[in-house]
Amino acid sequence: MTSNRTAPAEFDRRQNRAGFRDAVPAAIALVVAEVVVASLNLHARSNRWHIAVALIPLIPACWLGWALWRMLRRSDEFQRVAHLEALAIGFAVAMLAALTGGLLHAADVGSTAQWLQITFIGGILAWVVALALRLRR
């Protein structure tokens, strides 16, 4: 009897283990860096190093980007196409959100920080949803 059992193949297990090993520490480091910088108000202008401190979360963000790159390199051909399509959709949504935010900001709607957050979250969400739809069973 043939089954379409949902148990992962060895390839999937290998990929999940490596992805977990790469991405989880980077994600934790990003959250910790954001929380520490925000809660200790380290990027306040009174601090001499406020620009450098404000950019600290970029280090784990780059680490996360490197984890994503490695995940793409480990993917098989179908997954790679799916990842790249999803990234393209996420990029298009982020660009549209940035343009919309810019236009609305010019019309005095919302603040720059709000629009940047909406752009970032919108891009990530579009990417994740597009990927989930493409890789559905």
Binding site: T2, R5, P8, A9, F11, D12, D76, E77, F78, R137
Partner: protein, 79 residues
């Protein structure tokens, strides 16, 4: 492109995960090929042919070719 992957897998009583292991790809890829959502690259198609020990053209056929075969089969049967 049409393929006989599901049929050949069923004959061998393999699950999608087992076939994925033999091809060293993810189970999602096997599923996507079987459901026609993805056409494999030439190297992967050759690997599939090798796993099933069949010529590549007996596993993969252009969609139009399959439709034509069905039409001819229908005519031959007088359908």
């Amino acid at each position: 492109m049409d393929n006989r992957l599901r049929e050949l897998r069923a004959i061998r009583k393999w699950s999608q995960a087992e076939l994925a292991d033999r091809l060293d790809v993810s189970r999602q890829t096997v599923n996507a090929i079987e459901t026609g959502r993805y056409d494999p690259s030439l190297p992967l198609a050759f690997k599939i042919a090798d796993v099933f020990a069949q010529p590549i053209e007996s596993i993969f056929q252009p969609a139009a070719q399959t439709a034509l075969d069905r039409t001819q089969l229908g005519s031959a049967k007088g359908i």
